[in-house]
Subunit: 413 residues, 4 copies
Amino acid sequence: MNRDLSPKSQDLVDRVQAFFDQHITPNEARYEAEMHALRAAGNPWQVVPLIEELKPIARAAGLWNLFLPHPYKGEGGVSNLDYAPLCELMGRVIWSGEVFNCSAPDTGNMETIERYGTAAQKQAWLEPLLDGKIRSAFLMTEPAVASSDATNIECSIRREGDEYVINGRKWFSSGAGHPNCAIFIVMGKTDFEAARHEQQSMVLVPRDTAGVTVLRPLNVFGYDDAPHGHMEVLLENVRVPVENILLGEGRGFEIAQGRLGPGRIHHCMRSIGAAERALELMVDRLSTRIAFGKPLSAQSIWHERIAESRCMIDQARMLTMNAAHMMDTVGNKGAKQEIAMIKVVAPNVSCKVVDWAIQAYGAAGVSQDTWLAEMYAHQRTVRLVDGPDEVHRNAIAKIEIAKRTVARAAKSA
Amino acid sequence: MNRDLSPKSQDLVDRVQAFFDQHITPNEARYEAEMHALRAAGNPWQVVPLIEELKPIARAAGLWNLFLPHPYKGEGGVSNLDYAPLCELMGRVIWSGEVFNCSAPDTGNMETIERYGTAAQKQAWLEPLLDGKIRSAFLMTEPAVASSDATNIECSIRREGDEYVINGRKWFSSGAGHPNCAIFIVMGKTDFEAARHEQQSMVLVPRDTAGVTVLRPLNVFGYDDAPHGHMEVLLENVRVPVENILLGEGRGFEIAQGRLGPGRIHHCMRSIGAAERALELMVDRLSTRIAFGKPLSAQSIWHERIAESRCMIDQARMLTMNAAHMMDTVGNKGAKQEIAMIKVVAPNVSCKVVDWAIQAYGAAGVSQDTWLAEMYAHQRTVRLVDGPDEVHRNAIAKIEIAKRTVARAAKSA
Amino acid sequence: MNRDLSPKSQDLVDRVQAFFDQHITPNEARYEAEMHALRAAGNPWQVVPLIEELKPIARAAGLWNLFLPHPYKGEGGVSNLDYAPLCELMGRVIWSGEVFNCSAPDTGNMETIERYGTAAQKQAWLEPLLDGKIRSAFLMTEPAVASSDATNIECSIRREGDEYVINGRKWFSSGAGHPNCAIFIVMGKTDFEAARHEQQSMVLVPRDTAGVTVLRPLNVFGYDDAPHGHMEVLLENVRVPVENILLGEGRGFEIAQGRLGPGRIHHCMRSIGAAERALELMVDRLSTRIAFGKPLSAQSIWHERIAESRCMIDQARMLTMNAAHMMDTVGNKGAKQEIAMIKVVAPNVSCKVVDWAIQAYGAAGVSQDTWLAEMYAHQRTVRLVDGPDEVHRNAIAKIEIAKRTVARAAKSA
Amino acid sequence: MNRDLSPKSQDLVDRVQAFFDQHITPNEARYEAEMHALRAAGNPWQVVPLIEELKPIARAAGLWNLFLPHPYKGEGGVSNLDYAPLCELMGRVIWSGEVFNCSAPDTGNMETIERYGTAAQKQAWLEPLLDGKIRSAFLMTEPAVASSDATNIECSIRREGDEYVINGRKWFSSGAGHPNCAIFIVMGKTDFEAARHEQQSMVLVPRDTAGVTVLRPLNVFGYDDAPHGHMEVLLENVRVPVENILLGEGRGFEIAQGRLGPGRIHHCMRSIGAAERALELMVDRLSTRIAFGKPLSAQSIWHERIAESRCMIDQARMLTMNAAHMMDTVGNKGAKQEIAMIKVVAPNVSCKVVDWAIQAYGAAGVSQDTWLAEMYAHQRTVRLVDGPDEVHRNAIAKIEIAKRTVARAAKSA
């Protein structure tokens, strides 16, 4: 419907769509059933058989590790612009990304290690991650401070001889509940006295290191999101060798900045995929449900909402594709405003469309009988992760104000 | 802050507030712990000890069955206007209503039996309900049809000799999950050929009647709302004596209309209590959380939202108190527009304020560590139960259009 | 529809309504025609004959100077709560207030002189104002500074012997275009070095004083609002005797605060009257206009808007009546938050309802053939005068934050 | 900032921008002064000298008739996608389009005659229009009926021998107030009994034909938009030769559909130019105005609004460029949904951003001292012309519903 995809992207879209038609969509009920069975048996924090069954099929189909921006051993090397439409497809089924080894936070973690890791770090952790044999978590947010301001972080990483000693409490560590989660990237402070953005460092912490305790899952509107989960993790005198640092002491903030861009494109395109599916579900329900003698779709209030949904979704998609294009052409830093814009727009659009779809479905919309309530909970959370809307709007505004300051100066010069 | 309460209402407010300060607020954590323990033990559909412990204390304090509009054996007899502020207080803690025997759907069911029931029906079901010994459910909504239009209902109530034979599938039957739930009021059709609003009847169906199967709980977002729950119930050739009918065949729609008004006042005032508490929580968080060097409350975007919250809450409260006053003075029918108005306004205000509070709390706001996400899920659902917003807005508009039609006719006459 | 009016207020409402039915509503076209004739003749800044014709009738009917809070020579003495519904009626026809000598800014100016003026000042200016023989203006806002922060004001009032010498540029001085406007209340600074809120003073400046130049009318969305107008006024070495000061040097800020409350009740109730009329017009149009084979009122999008309008208007009215009641019972200071709330809510509601009504009327809605576009322009401006929304929302939020700070302190004590 | 312009478009943008810098922007005050002088002299319905002075300069610079989709005598031939950014620039100064002979409704009228006119019609009217020697109007909307449904039109075009006799009342005939306006395209009905979309025809009516009376200008808010104006026109037994029909009897609806697409791209891109300028003005004001001790731009509420403005504008632009691209590639019919979407989105975005800018400017924002209030009035009107938002949203929704009906059928097949 919108500006043309590149041939490469179109080909990937077609193949991923075909994979969905054959392996994902027909298995949505099976995934639910498997999770329900695990839960009924008392422990949902288990590998889901369906996922493991589909992974080799996806890899064999060449639909594996597509997120990787730089080619690595023959995989990846897809631009943000070409990869974005694949994320949209994956956004339609919440568990589908893992099938292609393209699920957060693994994607961001793999990219981080690929970009900043040593050869040893890559061999130890990147390789098994790329093979889908282990999973990972990113331990950033802390319950005690407003983590939207990364300089607030309090987790300490103190050097003692050849080791770092880590103490802190993290939460909303997504993925840390998965039984295969083997490695954490931990953000903390190696120097509380350094310049504001040079205090932070990132270290690799194997999950089975002594002193690591995964305390509990945090729920999201009642959902525990097992088996991945959003965990609270306690780090008490956790010791890792100094080789486990990424890039070097004081480079943590820099790494955090670098990993944000692509992750946001992925988040946002998945949000758009979710919104697109919600609109389909909304229209289907309204077209087939009768009240007061006519289908709900004959009510003009729903015409307004369907039309607004289409307008919002198409605009959000174009904005996100544009941000992807900017990242590919001028880099993450040059695309800073564009990335902040999509981070605000996409999940808000998705929340709005999903909420309208819930309203169209009535009580069924808030229940487990539709995909909607869980998706709402997820999209609502996207408005908070990686910084709440307010922080991104501030960033957008500051860039805009700066542009005008320059323009006024030029004019009066 | 607003128009003065009557002395009677003020006295009740003071006493309920004192009860909250002594017995409810300090026990919020205990309730959570008891539910958590039941859940961990594998069955949350149990009586919660705290509730049973507090009920006799509330009854002894004269804070029992206050919802009853007509005095019954010395209890109740409080006007809607005087009772409304008590609902606001109860709206602050989701489980508190039951402590005062003032929780839905029991209140509506007791009122219905008190108003329309025979002496035998009252003795059998009203008395134990008023004593808090049993609980009840109202089986109205059906998964197969748009139940916002009550004429869509498909459950059949067929007379066979001295019995009614009931067949149907109901869902979102709130309270039907509770172990003490002993009686259902079932809405169905005794005559599919009668005039549109005379097909429906209501019958009393003991839960343990053969043919009744409580299939499963429906979730609301990810919450099962145990131990009350919102259940799907299958009725297969369920037989009850003809004496179990309420008011008579074909009177179901009429009863349904009659019970709506007070229930909506209660819902709406609880929504306002929830919004008020969310605003308090929001302000507290913003005042004590530091980001980018200053408390969040110093950001003018939050000034806007706090101010909007206060404006919306105060207006919604006045609108609801006015509707209560209208019901007390001109009756439910005369207050039809006012009741529809609060049904739209109050839960929408509450959803908005709670959503802002979630945003103020960040990730904690969507988790189980605050009261907010669960309250959002609940308030979002209130926008659907007893008819979605759209149905009520249509009703409001039709009354408004009719008023002007009369006015134009008068003018041109 | 809402909480009952007092007998006194109901009587006044009935009488003002009767006056409208007889003298105002039937003359709306005549007012337009008279203004049109003046304009066509080249000078709209003239007395409108209709107004002068109706004034004595209103005074004879006892509907004169009703705004006066304290009885003065047998007139006035109506509480804010009782007066508010009269303002609502007057809000329906933009020029009607003057007929009852109840139009801004004269009402605020008369109140100010009545409350703070000397006997001589009262005789000179209050008496002819109360008789409707002269009109007045209030010179506060300045083009060069953000006047929402009154401490920004730059107009200087320098004492020289027995005179004050005034220099400044004011704008949006409403009413200063009227040929009968004889007296200005000027806000300026007598001491630029005093404490922040003690620098300001108010002086009475006859319009014909040397050095006063009424420069031009400011338009409001293309309307010049003749014959009253919103004028830009230049004050160059304007000299008045020191007796012309109100209350004393440095008391200007205090007076400004005192006059705000009642004026806002008036503004807000007029906004509500405007919104109520817009809703009537909207419903009438939608009921009688056919498109695509059915009246526009059969479209559910319009049901939503009509219903929202009714909900918003009723709530805004109750909020405003409550603020009036608070002012009457706890005083303007105690009602500070309530007054700020209505100042935000009422004109925003009115703008929204009028805007929907414009949409219902199509092109006619933006033209001179309906009352709507001019009313929109007026109501949009009310969101700016006496401080923009943002300033009031800040004030509301600060009070709310302060309340919680006290509550938290009490709890932890 | 967004997807790259084609070299042709970039070159045109650069040249139009240069023309603005040299001839338009520095002359904004002069245009105001000339209009003010005409108005003060008693008749604003005059040619504005500045416009006539600039036209030959623009034509000499090759910036003339660029809107023409098909090349005509060496001018035009620019695609919608390439032309759109020029419209955005012209949207920044409301009178600038005429300088390039690119102003509505002449553009639509020229296109219509170019596409559907006979050689004689072209020679008589298209040539002088392309030369900028005469101007034109399009007489479609009627005061008596909801013209958003074109089948409602009541103007009759009755054939009598070799003439058509036209009777009707039209209004909001934009441009009909201009002294050079020489030709009207009139939409009416030649056959009230034909099929619903075959009743309408369009005829060319010279303005000086007997029976044509231009009655009065309709205002938009308080603006008369002289010298073009939006006129009410009475057609009483107006006779034109049958050769004056366009395309043939019963083809009027078809022509109306055909002319809508490009006009909407132009409208929408101008709306975006207006929004972009409003955002610049807003940021400039907020950065330079001090209240309560700091610039307004330091308030986070303004960060939110600036950020929202940037997000909305960029999205609206991409949506409009996409619609232009669709028209260029799949034609107006294939781009029907996209065109309806921009018609809703662009003026709504513009209204919102301009309204915020007004709020940033305070009282100055609603006055003639800024460009904002007049632009608001204009943009608000764009939400009504060529069909109100509601009609377009209905069209969008119906296409969306149809798509899903097809999809569901395919799935179940």
